[in-house]
């Protein structure tokens, strides 16, 4: 509330009233202040509040002080509010009701409603920023103190000019960032063109490129984030980096896999590995590309893709088909099970439980009962009891 200044409540030359609302209470941050019942006025330049009982008591804050506004919905016994976040008060602000405040925002509480329209109008003024283009002059009506009135008007202009400069500075920073970004992108575009040209050359030569050159080229593409056009067919999308990553993963995942029955979904692996790393995280593509190389590098883990598209990492020693046999036992014991029930019983994720049951079905051990109550699996009696 220390951004407000006392004012006569009269509009300046060039300042226009936009909307007003009775029955508004003011809050300094979260705390109620003595301005509990007044008329809230919005002009093209300021936000004003005048006490309904004492018309002499009038305060205002320039709209240029506003950072942004939020709506706060009404609750039981609570009026709807608008929260107005403000810039710190400038040093040459006119005196007001509060010297200091521990909050950088105020709240306008609409005890007699009207907040929707007011919010709409205030948002509009914040977008149009008419106070920037319409200069205000002295008040046209006679003040109690004409001298003070003139000084006050000048003071406002001075504040507004400072804020204008500050805003231009911020805008300049942002536009400088965009300019720099555009220049950078031009250079990146050149890299993309060059890589296309090289890829075409490789295609023309049809495999007459050395393995060494391929490795180099792929690592360049990786650095720039350019999709791998030609060499994917011949050598796969893995690079040296992915090879190293695959070896690392084999080390990191051994124990977690053993703890989880030898199998984990790729999303689980992604979360586990990245949570452990904390920094320099793996992209999902990095993980997939590394896992694709596990088998060819003869590591003790492998990537497996189920019919549904679900991707898992298994220990080489893990045999999903054997697990199916024990799954069949479990289902038989219970008569029938859904994926959820099976998952809970065995202590697996629902995703992997479902895949196991589907595999068992594919192998002919289980039958499904697909109804609106869910997908339930039964032992395949057609097979066992002919």
């Amino acid at each position: 509330m220390d951004r407000f200044s006392w004012t006569s409540g009269l509009l300046e030359l060039g300042e226009t009233l936009v909307v007003q609302q009775r029955g508004v209470r003011l809050y300094d941050g979260e705390e109620k202040v003595k301005f509990d019942s007044g008329v809230l006025l919005l002009s093209t330049h300021r936000l004003l509040w005048r006490d309904q009982k004492n018309h002499e008591c009038c305060i205002a804050v320039p709209l240029s002080q506003v950072v942004f506004i939020e709506e706060q919905a009404a609750g039981i016994g609570k009026s709807a509010k608008i929260v107005v976040h403000l810039h710190p008060a400038s040093s040459n602000k006119e005196p007001g009701p509060f010297q200091s405040s521990k909050y950088s925002y105020i709240k306008l509480s609409f005890k007699e409603h009207g907040q929707i329209e007011f919010y709409r109008r205030l948002s509009e003024e914040m977008t149009q920023r008419r106070w920037e283009s319409i200069p205000t002059g002295q008040t046209i009506q006679v003040n109690k103190d004409p001298q003070a009135g003139r000084i006050r008007a000048v003071g406002i202009v001075g504040i507004e000019r400072k804020l204008e400069e500050k805003r231009k500075e911020t805008d300049k920073n942002i536009s400088e960032a965009f300019e720099d970004l555009s220049k950078l992108m031009e250079k990146a575009k050149e890299m993309v063109e060059l890589s296309k040209s090289i890829a075409n050359k490789i295609k023309e030569k049809q495999g007459d490129i050395t393995e060494d050159e391929t490795i180099r080229f792929k690592s360049y593409l990786l650095s720039m984030g350019i999709a791998n056009p030609v060499t994917r067919e011949t050598y796969g999308s893995g690079t040296q980096y992915h090879m190293q990553l695959a070896k690392q993963l084999a080390g990191i995942l051994q124990t977690p896999l053993e703890e989880r029955g030898g199998i984990m979904s790729l999303t689980e692996v992604y979360c586990l590995v990245n949570r452990a790393r904390g920094l320099e995280l793996l992209s999902p593509e990095d993980l997939v590309n590394a896992c694709k190389m596990l088998e060819s590098l003869k590591l003790p883990l492998r990537l497996r893709i189920f019919d549904s598209g679900v991707m898992v990492i298994e220990l080489q020693s893990h045999n999903e088909e054997e697990m199916v046999a024990s799954a069949l036992e479990t289902v038989s014991e219970k008569g029938s099970l859904t994926a959820d029930e099976f998952a809970k019983l065995v202590g697996m994720s629902v995703l992997l439980a479902k895949e196991r049951l589907l595999l068992a079905e594919k192998m002919g051990h289980l039958c499904r009962d697909d109804s609106v109550e869910g997908l339930r699996f039964y032992p395949n009696l057609f097979l066992t009891q002919s």
Binding site: A188, Y270, N274, V288
Partner: protein, 258 residues
């Protein structure tokens, strides 16, 4: 008499010329690779300079991030393809989105049993923000969408379905085709849909409407209210606004952490 162009000599000469041409071809690629390597080093320097001035801007300003991503897409560059890419290493964009991916996976897993693996972008946004805490960087819905697009490649069924001006995020490998999507869009207005509504809006036969609804029921994405006045209503828990404010329970959180 000499006859030009024929004979073993001519053939041998031709072969030699071809070999030399191929050699030069190899040299050309080598040249270009060397050129690319040099340009790459220069680009890295430019990027470092850019990062030193504007890295904060990217971290803090969601709009700037959108600009950045759009520009990259226009020129054919994916800054999020690899954590080892320059963009990720120097601008830190990678870590931002990959970590967001982890948070998205965890929220979706925790809430799956409530909504069958479908969640509105709004609710996902709220839950992710809650999980990140007060002092974390701000994350926009655009950021979430980009992170989710990257998660698709992990094969667990992450997808984005546009409905009525916003999006539903799918996080289970259930097959949702055009028919299912269209019914979801229809249900978005009120949170539920009936067979009659589907038939009158989409002009489908009874059988087709029923099949789609049954599929959604089976997947746990729709709940059946047989006690509604008139005909049964098929509700989508993903669209229950009351659920937004509910916290993720400790049991649900346990489900989420691998």
């Amino acid at each position: 008499m000499h006859r030009r162009g024929v004979g073993a000599g001519a053939i041998a000469k031709k072969k030699l010329a071809e070999a030399k041409y191929k050699e030069r071809g190899t040299v050309l690629a080598e040249d270009q690779l060397a050129q690319m390597s040099k340009q790459l080093d220069m680009f890295k320097t430019n990027l470092e300079e850019f990062a030193s001035k504007h890295k904060q801007e990217i971290r803090k300003n969601p709009e700037f991030r959108v600009q950045f991503q759009d520009m990259c897409a226009t020129i054919g560059v994916d800054p999020l393809a690899s954590g080892k890419g320059f963009w990720s290493e120097m601008l830190g964009v990678g870590d931002f989105y990959y970590e967001l991916g982890v948070q998205i996976i965890e929220v979706c897993l925790a809430l799956k049993h409530r909504n069958g693996g479908l969640i509105t972008l709004e609710e996902l946004h709220q839950q992710v923000l809650k999980g990140r805490g007060k002092f974390a960087q701000d994350v926009s819905q655009d950021d979430l969408l980009r992170a989710i697009k990257k998660l698709k490649v992990l094969g667990s069924g992450f997808g984005i379905i546009p409905v009525g001006g916003t999006y539903l995020v799918q996080s289970v490998p259930a097959e949702l085709n055009m028919d299912h999507t269209v019914v979801l869009q229809l249900a978005e207005k009120k949170g539920y849909v009936t067979v009659s509504e589907i038939r009158s809006s989409l002009k489908w036969e009874m059988e087709r409407a029923k099949q789609v609804l049954e599929h959604l029921l089976k997947e746990g994405m729709a709940w059946l209210d047989t006690q509604a006045t008139g005909e049964p209503q098929y509700w989508l828990p993903a669209l229950f606004t009351e659920l937004y404010s509910q916290e993720i329970t400790p049991e649900e959180a346990k489900e989420a952490i691998p």
